[in-house]
C-alpha cells in the first residue's frame, strides 16, 4: 500500500495499542503481523480541519487514531460544504434554451464546472517516524499525494457541540469498509492527528487475532447490528425488546471475496455450471434448516439440484432473506416433520450474512411478521397452526375457506386457469429459434455478468428495437452533443444489456475516489459525479467492472482545452450516464424509444424485469 512504510514505522506501531496486544503467533508465516502492517497500512498526519472521511463516501480503508484526536461531525453536512454540487433540476425553458444553443464543442465545460467551490489542498505527504525518534519528516515526492479538503468553520462546529471526539486507540470507518457501505458521518482531523489507514485486506488479516476479531464484532453488535436489523423490511414490526434478543443471538458470517470486481472478468467467462461450482456454499439444499439467513451485503445465488447439476432459481441482494418458507413451515408444524432446505444458497463473489437461529426467529420475530409478507405456503400454514388459531386468525380461516368454496364452484375460471397454466408452461420452454424467454437461462446470465448489481440498468428488447439509435441521439442532444452511452453490450436471447451506468447497489467505482466527487444522491439513489471536484485520476473508470465510466479531456465553450497548471496536460473528467437528472423530462433515452424497446430497470430483484417481459405480449 505504501512503499515508504519502513521497518522503523512498523516497529513503532507494534509498541502501540491495539497492535501491542495482538498475538503474532496467530498469523501465518506467509503473512506475518509486521508484514500486514507494512503492506496494508499507511501512516498519515492530518492538519486541523482536514477532512479524513466524508459522509457518503464508499471507502476501502478504516482509520485508527494513533495520536491527537479526530472529530466526528454528528449532523449531516450540506453537500456543498464537502465540495459536491447537487444536480439542480432545470426548468423546461432553461432546458430548451440550452438545447437550442449547443456549444458545438466536444465535452465543453464552463469554468465554474471545472473549478471546485471549496479549497482543495495537496495532502502534505505521508509522514513517517524513525525508530526512537518522535520527529516526523514529510516524504518528498509522494506519488499518492492527492488533493484533500479542509472543512470551513470547523472550530465553530466543535464549539457548537456538533462533533464527537475520537481519541487515540479508537477505530472508525471499519463497518463501512467491511460491509461495502457508505460512511455514515464526516470525520475531520483535530489537533496533532496522526492516524493509521488500514485497508480492507489488512483489516481482514488482523481479525486472525481472536481478541481483535471479537472486539470488532462486539463493537458492531453494540452499535450497528440493531440498526441494520431494523432496516430489513421483514423485521420492521419487531418490538425493541425482541430485537435486543435477536441482536444477542444473531451470528455474523462472510463468504467469498469482497473484491469481486477483481475476479469479475475471469469468472464471467466460466460456464454457468463451472461458476456455480466455484461459488462458496452458504446453505445446502436438503440440509436441516438452522437459521434464517439475511443478506447484509453482497449477492447470493439461490439454486436447486437438477439432474447432475444445479440450476439458478433466484438471486438475492441486500435485505433479502433465505430459508423463510422452510422455517415457517417447520415451526408451524406443516406436515409434522421439520422441512429441509429446498434450495441452496451460494455467494456470488462476496456475501455477508446475518444468521438468526430458528428458535430465536420463531420466538421473537415470526409473531410480528405480516402474513402477507410470508411465502404463500407458509402463510397458509400459519392459519392452521396446531395450537389453534387466535380469534382474529379464525376470521381469516373462515374467509380463506369461503374463498376456496367460491373457487371450487366456478368451473369456468378454474378451467381457464388450467389452460393458461399449460400455456405458461409451454412459454417457459426454449423455442426452436432460441428466442423465447427462458427464466433459468436469463437468471444465470444476469448473475454471471453481475447485472443484478444494477438499479437503473438499461435493457433493450432486440425484437422491438429498429436500431434507429434515437436513444443515443436523444442522449447526445440533452448532453450538449456528447452521448453518455453507445448502443452496445452483451445480449441474452432477445435482451441486450447496454453499457450504460447502472447506478449499482454496490458501486465499486466509488471506492477510492480521492475527493468524493463520485457520490450517491441520498434522495434518488443515483450515483452522480460532481465534476467541479473531479480531479480526473481515473480510479472510478478503472474500478467500474462494466466499463461504464469514460475519462474525457474537456475544453472551454470556445474549444480550447483546459490544461493543468502544473503538468500542462489536458484536464480530464469522469463522465457517465447521469439519468438526465437535471432535466424536466427524466431519462431521455427511455423516453425517446418509439417502440417500447428500451427500459431503465432495477435488476437487484427479479420482479420488475419479469413484469416488464410479461407486458411484451
Amino acid at each position: 500500500m505504501d512503499p515508504h512504510m519502513t521497518d522503523a514505522d512498523v516497529d513503532w506501531l507494534l509498541t502501540r495499542m491495539p497492535f501491542a496486544a495482538l498475538d503474532a503467533s496467530q498469523f501465518p508465516k506467509s503473512i506475518p503481523l509486521d508484514g500486514v502492517l507494512k503492506n496494508d497500512c499507511r501512516l498519515h498526519r492530518f492538519a486541523p480541519g482536514q477532512v479524513i472521511v466524508r459522509e457518503g463516501d464508499y471507502a476501502n480503508s478504516a482509520f485508527l487514531v494513533l495520536e491527537g484526536n479526530a472529530e466526528l461531525i454528528t449532523r449531516p453536512l450540506p453537500p456543498d460544504v464537502l465540495g459536491r454540487r447537487e444536480v439542480e433540476k432545470r426548468s423546461w425553458s432553461d432546458a430548451l434554451w440550452q438545447f437550442l444553443r449547443p456549444s458545438g464543442v466536444r465535452e465543453a465545460r464552463r469554468p465554474e464546472n471545472v473549478t471546485p467551490d471549496v479549497e482543495l489542498h495537496d495532502r502534505p505527504g505521508t509522514e513517517h517516524r524513525a525508530s526512537g525518534n518522535e520527529n516526523t519528516s514529510p516524504i518528498a515526492g509522494d506519488a499518492d499525494a492527492q488533493p484533500t479538503l479542509y472543512l470551513q468553520d470547523f472550530g465553530g462546529l466543535v464549539r457548537a457541540g456538533q462533533t464527537a471526539r475520537l481519541v487515540a486507540g479508537e477505530l472508525f470507518g471499519e463497518v463501512a469498509t467491511m460491509l461495502r457501505g457508505p460512511h455514515g458521518a464526516t470525520v475531520v482531523a483535530g489537533e496533532n492527528a496522526t492516524l493509521l489507514e488500514i485497508r480492507l485486506q489488512g483489516l481482514k488479516m488482523l481479525q486472525r487475532d481472536t481478541a481483535f476479531a471479537e472486539r470488532m464484532e462486539e463493537h458492531y453488535r453494540q452499535h450497528w447490528l440493531a440498526i441494520h436489523l431494523k432496516e430489513i423490511p421483514l423485521l420492521r414490526f419487531v418490538p425493541e425488546s425482541n430485537l435486543r434478543n435477536v441482536v444477542e443471538h444473531t451470528q455474523l458470517r462472510s463468504f467469498g471475496r469482497l473484491q469481486w470486481n477483481a475476479d469479475y472478468s475471469k469468472t464471467r467467462k466460466l460456464s454457468p455450471a463451472q461458476q456455480i461450482e466455484s461459488e462458496p456454499v452458504v446453505a445446502q439444499e436438503g440440509h436441516h434448516v438452522t437459521d434464517l439467513i439475511v443478506v447484509r451485503s453482497g449477492f447470493g445465488r439461490v439454486c436447486q439440484n437438477y439432474g447432475s447439476a444445479q440450476r439458478t432459481t433466484a438471486y438475492l441482494g441486500k435485505g433479502h432473506v433465505f430459508g423463510l418458507e422452510e422455517i415457517t413451515l417447520s415451526v408451524t408444524g406443516g406436515n409434522g416433520a421439520p422441512m429441509p432446505l429446498q434450495h441452496s444458497l451460494r455467494a456470488v463473489g462476496f456475501l455477508d450474512t446475518l444468521h438468526i437461529p430458528v428458535e430465536c426467529f420463531a420466538r421473537e420475530v415470526l409473531p410480528h411478521i405480516r402474513r402477507s409478507e410470508l411465502p404463500p405456503n407458509a402463510a397458509e400454514a400459519m392459519l392452521h397452526r396446531p395450537q389453534g388459531p387466535t380469534k382474529r386468525e379464525r376470521r381469516s380461516v373462515a374467509r380463506e375457506e369461503s374463498r376456496r368454496d367460491d373457487a371450487q364452484s366456478t368451473t369456468e375460471e378454474t378451467e381457464t386457469a388450467s389452460v393458461s397454466t399449460t400455456a405458461k408452461t409451454w412459454d417457459d420452454l426454449p423455442s426452436s429459434t432460441g428466442t423465447s424467454f427462458e427464466p433459468t437461462g436469463l437468471l444465470e446470465f444476469i448473475v454471471q455478468n453481475r447485472y443484478n448489481n444494477g438499479r437503473q440498468a438499461m435493457i433493450i428488447d432486440l425484437h422491438r428495437c429498429t436500431r434507429c439509435d434515437d436513444c443515443v441521439k436523444a442522449c447526445a442532444s440533452v448532453h450538449d452533443g456528447n452521448p453518455r452511452f453507445a448502443r452496445i453490450g452483451n445480449h441474452h436471447e432477445r435482451l441486450q444489456f447496454v453499457e450504460a451506468c447502472m447506478h449499482c447497489t454496490d458501486p465499486v467505482c466509488m471506492i477510492g475516489c480521492p475527493t468524493g466527487a463520485l457520490h450517491r444522491d441520498e434522495s434518488t439513489g443515483l450515483v452522480n459525479i460532481s465534476e467541479n471536484i473531479c480531479i480526473g485520476c481515473g480510479v472510478c473508470a478503472k474500478g467500474c467492472p462494466y466499463d461504464n465510466i469514460e475519462m474525457v479531456a474537456i475544453s472551454d465553450p470556445s474549444g480550447r482545452p483546459y490544461l493543468d497548471m502544473k503538468s500542462k496536460q489536458p484536464i480530464t473528467k469522469a463522465t457517465k450516464c447521469d439519468m438526465c437528472s437535471g432535466l424536466p423530462s427524466g431519462p431521455a433515452c427511455a423516453a425517446a424509444c418509439p417502440h417500447d424497446a428500451l427500459v431503465r430497470i432495477d435488476l437487484s430483484e427479479s420482479p420488475p424485469l419479469e413484469d416488464w417481459l410479461r407486458r411484451r405480449t
Binding site: 432546458a95 389452460v419 393458461s420 424536466p584 425517446a592 417500447d596
Partner: protein, 311 residues
Amino acid sequence: MSVVERRHGGAISTTQRCKAAASGLVNRVTGAGRAYSFRRRRVVACGVVVVSLALAALLASGMHAALLHSGVMTGWMLISCLFLLVLIGVRRRIPVLPLGTMSVWTQVHIYTGLFAVGVFLLHVPAILHGRLIATGYLEGTLSGLFWFVSASGVYGLIASRRIPWRLTNVGEQVRLDQIPWYREQISRSVSDEVQSLTNPAAISVIGEFHRRYLSRYLSSKPSWLYLIYPTSVRRRRVLAGLVELNRYLEEEDCRVCGRIAALVRRRDDLDYQYALQLRLRVWVMLHSAASVALLVMAIIHGILAMRFVES
C-alpha cells in the same frame, strides 16, 4: 359429484373443455386478465378507433341528410389528424421537454393514422364507388399521396415489428455506421489468410479464387437489388466455390478454406444487417417526407375548398 371430484376422475365434459379453450383463446388474443400488456393496449386502441369512426360516420350521414356539407366536417377532421400525425416528428426532435414518451406518441400516431384512413373514405365518397384516386389534378395527386403515406405507414408498422426480429436472429448486433469498418476488417482478414499460405499448390488454388471472386465480393458493396431484396444467392455461390476447392487442397489448406468460408458467412450477415437497417431508415425518410408534402397539399386543398364552400 363436485367439480373437484369430477376433475380428479377425469370426467370433464367436452362442452366445458371447449368453453375453457375459447375463454383462454379470448384472453390470449385480448390480453384480458392481465394488468397491462401490448395485446390489451392494441385491442383497446382498435376499439376506440372503431367507435370513433362509427360516430364520425353517423355524424357525416346526419349532416348529409340535413343537406349540410359533411365534406367540410370530415375535411377538418382529416387536417387535424394530419397535424397530429406530423407532430410526432417535432416531439422526436425535442427530447428535452416533458412532452410524453415517444412510445405513447407512436401509439397515438398509429391509431390516429388508422382513424384518418376511415375518415378519408368518408371524405372522398368516390372511393366507395370504386375510384381509388379522386378526379382533378390537385385532388387526384392529394388522394394518391394520401394512399402512399397510408400504405407506407402500414408497411412501416409491419416492418418495425418484423425486421428487428430478423436482425436479432442474424446473431451479431452491429451498428449501421460501423458496418463499413467491419467489412474492411473481414476483407483484410481474408487477405491475411491468403497471404499466410505456404504450400505452392494452395497459393495457386486459393490465390486464384481470391483474385477472381473473393476480393471482388469482399471489396464491393452490396448491390441495389440486394439492398431491396436480400438473398443468400451470392453467399451460397461463393461458399460452393470454396467447398469445390477442397479436393485440390491438403488438409491444412482445407482448414484455411474453412476459415475463409466463415469470414464469407460473416460478411453476408453484415450485408443482410446493412440491407435491413438501411431499409428501416429509408422508410422513415420517405414516410416523413411524403407526410410533409401531404400536409402542404392538404392545406392548399383546404384553402381552395373553403373558398368554394364560402362562395
